[in-house]
Amino acid sequence: MPQTNFIQAINQALSEEMRRDPNTFLMGEDVVLAAFGATKGLIDKFGPSRVRNTPISEAGFVGAAVGAAMAGARPICEVEFASFFYCAFDQVCNQAAKLRYMSGGQASLPITFRAVYGAMGGAAAQHSETVYAQFLSVPGLKLVVPSSPSDMKGLLKSAIRDDNPVIVFEHGALGRLREEIPEGDHLVPLGKAAIKRAGDNVTVIAIGAMVPKALRVADKLVKESISVEVIDPRTLIPLDETALLESVEKTNRVVIADEGHLRGGAAADIAALIAEQGFDHLDAPIKRVTALDVPIPFSPPLEKAAIPGEDRIEAAIRDLMGR
């Protein structure tokens, strides 16, 4: 079977879902020529009415996605870099997230937002941020953070079919990651974690780009008879609490690896869950491996210091194992 990369997986998911549901349409800055490649060729398949370049007006077109969804469409809305969401915060957090609830369930907002996040090498603070934590405490949004091409495709397809606002975060450094993707209508449900590697001694809950890093560390440590389980929540809202807690129950030790910041981050959120509901199973304190609480700096040695690397995952595991 052919290998598919992250970007191609996105392209396939968009293409399949847009063909499946004529109610879908795609809009965003430069989606026609496709700077990142994810939307390449869609204009030829679906035409200019359903594949639209927007002006550089995030508050405007994100809000237009909300309005279109309320009026019965199923918009797919690309926000280039995830930190540009800040320009459209009201429309995402005050409007998209709340309108169903505030209307007593009348409104349905089947919107898929896509955005690139994370440090990708010298893009500096305004283009490198991991921003999903900013949406974690906004009830009404679903948050998806795929770590592999196969998950990307299956989760994005589910996101598009979902009747709620869903934000799919794509790590900018995962673009070239390749793997085989199951044939056919490959769907991955929202709210289901994946055990990416089974192990007995330590659980590493890894999010997004931290998953491949955790897997490499696990590969390395197995040679020293440290058996690491790597589990990927895949969606932060809904969160597969059961799967995370079961893994901790098995290994009794947990590291949470996330490229977001320490304070108020996704790792903090998951740590609180485990502390509250999995405390009796823990043999050691919960460890978080995250970005430092600084804006992501430009210079490569500084960026490397700010972002959690394999060395820090390994050190956290060794610490828990006393090795």
């Binding site: 002006p55 550089i56 010298g122």
Partner: protein
């Protein structure tokens, strides 16, 4: 308007410094010697040079992702800019900012910016500070045609207009936002007409004619200093290079505009145009202009040497400067 010889030389030097500096970093980025996104303004030098020549040192500017030209024209040092773009400790921002975030407060450069449209309210606020303090400093705000579709553009023009703030909004209209032609996403073909909606003067100028830009800017600056409020200046120009260095490797050459179009604008080179004007009007002899080129080449060589020899920041510096 009679422009002094010193001003003419200053503007020519600015344009040469921009052209030299950006041609070099384009090559360095292509060769992967510098990291990150690099956006150059080659072909657009006259607007930066003409606007900044109408400002004084205590005046301030805000800039964009395509900001090297604005910073250089406001007096930015090539060595510290180059070191910043290399990610070195000796750079303007100690390596924390890079090409899109260079700042020099001592020169009134409030910063390049990675967020399209973000400089507009910041420039408005800078002008507000001058008004509140009772100073007659002016702020010039550079932005692109694409940025004029952001809400921040409209909100800033209204605010500046209603409070009569000393700010000059300078739209560098190069016809594209990334790879999208302006006409496909913008309701007007002249950004200047949007000034009318907010009741401020909107002026269109040939953005490749540094003398015209300087004249229009000087009038707007005089108005602003006199407390008469903001002006929107639209400089019609064109970027010769891609939106971002390296784009052709991804999209292919001439993916969204024709070679003929690009070539036709190269014939309107703002530097050559100025040189011709000098020759025709016997203002400055070619030797004097050539001397500026030679001096700029030397300055650039020294800037690269400085950047290369400057050290990379140590990992421990990552937590510096988060708070005051």
């Amino acid at each position: 308007m009679d422009i002094t010889k010193d001003k003419l030389l200053e503007m020519y030097r600015s344009m040469q410094r921009i052209r030299h500096f950006e041609s070099k970093i384009r090559d360095l980025a292509t060769a992967n010697e510098i990291p990150g996104f690099v956006h150059v303004s080659i072909g657009e030098e006259a607007s930066a040079a003409g606007i900044c020549a109408a400002l004084r040192k205590t005046d301030r500017i805000t800039s964009t992702h395509r900001g090297h030209g604005h910073l250089i024209a406001k007096g930015g040092r090539l060595d510290k800019m180059m070191a910043e773009i290399y990610g070195k400790r000796g750079g303007y921002c100690k390596g924390k900012g890079g090409s899109m975030h260079i700042v020099d407060f001592s020169l009134g450069i409030l910063g390049a910016n990675g967020i399209v449209g973000a400089g507009l309210p910041i420039a408005t606020g800078s002008a507000l500070a001058a008004q509140v303090a009772g100073r007659d400093d002016v702020t010039a705000c550079f932005f692109g045609d694409g940025a004029s579709n952001e809400g921040t553009f409209h909100e800033s023009l209204n605010l500046a207009s209603v409070w009569k703030l000393p700010v000059i909004f300078v739209c560098e209209n190069n016809g594209f936002g990334e790879f999208t032609p302006m006409r496909t996403v913008t309701s007007v073909s002249d950004i200047a007409v949007r000034a009318r909606a907010h009741d401020l003067p909107g002026v269109i100028v040939d953005g490749n004619d540094v003398l015209e830009v300087f004249k229009v800017a000087s009038e707007a600056v005089a108005r602003a200093r006199a407390g008469e409020g903001p002006t929107l200046i639209e400089c019609k120009t064109y970027r010769w290079e891609g939106h971002v260095v390296g784009e052709a490797a991804i999209l292919g050459e001439y993916a969204y505009r024709s070679k003929e179009e690009v070539d036709s604008w190269k014939l309107k080179c703002p530097l050559i145009r100025f040189e011709k004007w000098c020759a025709e009007n016997k203002k400055i002899d070619a030797g004097e202009l050539q001397r500026i080129v030679t001096e700029t080449e030397k300055e650039l060589d020294e800037a690269i040497a400085f950047a290369r020899s400057s050290e990379l920041p140590a990992a421990s510096e990552v937590t510096d400067d988060v708070f005051a």
